[in-house]
Amino acid sequence: MTTESVITYAPLHAHAILNEEIPCAWYSTRRLASPTWQSPFSCGGIGGPAPTTKVIVLSPFYPPSHRPSFSTRIERYRSDLERLRDGWCGPGSRAPTPETLADLDRLLAALPSDTTVPEIEVNEDSGSVTLRWQGSFAKALSFVVSGSGQVLAVTTTLAADPIVVSRRFAVSHTDAIARFIESDTALAAVIAQG
């Protein structure tokens, strides 16, 4: 069974008008529950419609010249990280150190301007920060910074036999990080489109 729904939304990183048939699993609970979703939407679940649902997604169109830069789009999240203090997630939890945030800033500067805002996670035990992109692509990519002056890039190839590889870069070597992304079209697609 295929259900057609019209959904309008204004995600931070939207930059095109999409009209796609997509697995409903790609939509998070939060987005579905968000008031920015304008129409009823039923997707998956026990007794629900087929896992592939025709969805027409209308999102704001930003001409390339007006599209907010990645640094602008991620600023809100970056500010949230800076406000965290030790104990933010219960006793013993650690906030990112100034060194970790400095590493993060250097990493962000190395990413292409059309980068999608990633999932951002702070490790409560260490205060390290992970940026994570997966979306619908055959690869997932994570960058982990911990204030050591290095970034750990972890790539998971989501084939039948998943393989996970990593590379370490000095965060100051922004050219090397950029080349690492550009050299793999699948990775470039993951971070550009989430």
């Binding site: 699993a25 609970t29 579905l32 805002v117 999932e119 994570s142 996970v164 990593s166």
Partner: protein, 175 residues
């Protein structure tokens, strides 16, 4: 030495048998503990439980009488106060067993995970036939370290594989 010796024979008196490659295992993601503003957190994988060899999963398609509905009921029953079961992610056992991490460039990756028919659901002796665990594979000359790159790679790989298959979403269930 095999990386997963405990996979090869029943590990619990009430086990219905070793976990087959063709089975689907699933884990519940609870709101808010497993989510932040930007998505599913690594907490979903519970690194400390992985290191201890006891990341809890449910065998959600081995016994039709249990199935995904049985897993939903168990996950709701087991939720901590203040938590809501928001989603259930699943993975084929074969794919979890095939996750490999590259420890040396240009060499074959090593196996990261075992899936074991450990039916124990508490230290008090509770058990369920459809309960199993994911544990880290054991390798000669190699030890998993909580803050090591290899463990980070394994966690990221497992999270990515689970995130590919959303089996159930509370937001889509009509009351």
């Amino acid at each position: 030495m095999t990386a997963c010796p405990h996979e090869e024979a029943n590990q619990h008196a009430n086990s219905p048998g070793v976990v087959a490659d063709g089975e689907t295992i699933c884990r519940g993601a609870y709101d808010p503990v497993h989510f932040n503003k930007s998505g599913l957190k690594m907490a979903f994988i519970r690194p400390a439980h992985l290191l201890a060899g006891e990341l809890s999963v449910w065998r959600c398609d081995r016994d039709p009488k249990f199935g995904l509905q049985g897993a939903i009921e168990k996950l709701i029953e087991d939720k901590a106060p203040g938590q809501t079961l928001a989603k259930i992610f699943g993975a084929k056992v074969e794919r979890v067993r095939k996750i490999a991490i590259e420890t040396e460039p240009d060499k074959p990756g090593i196996r990261a995970f075992c899936v074991v028919d450990d039916c124990a659901t508490s230290e008090a002796g509770d058990w369920h036939s459809e309960h199993a665990v994911i544990a880290l594979a054991k390798h000669d000359n190699f030890a998993w370290e909580a803050d090591g790159d290899h463990f980070t790679m394994a966690k990221e790989g497992l999270l990515a594989v689970f995130k590919q298959t959303l089996l159930w979403n509370a937001a889509s269930v009509r009351p």
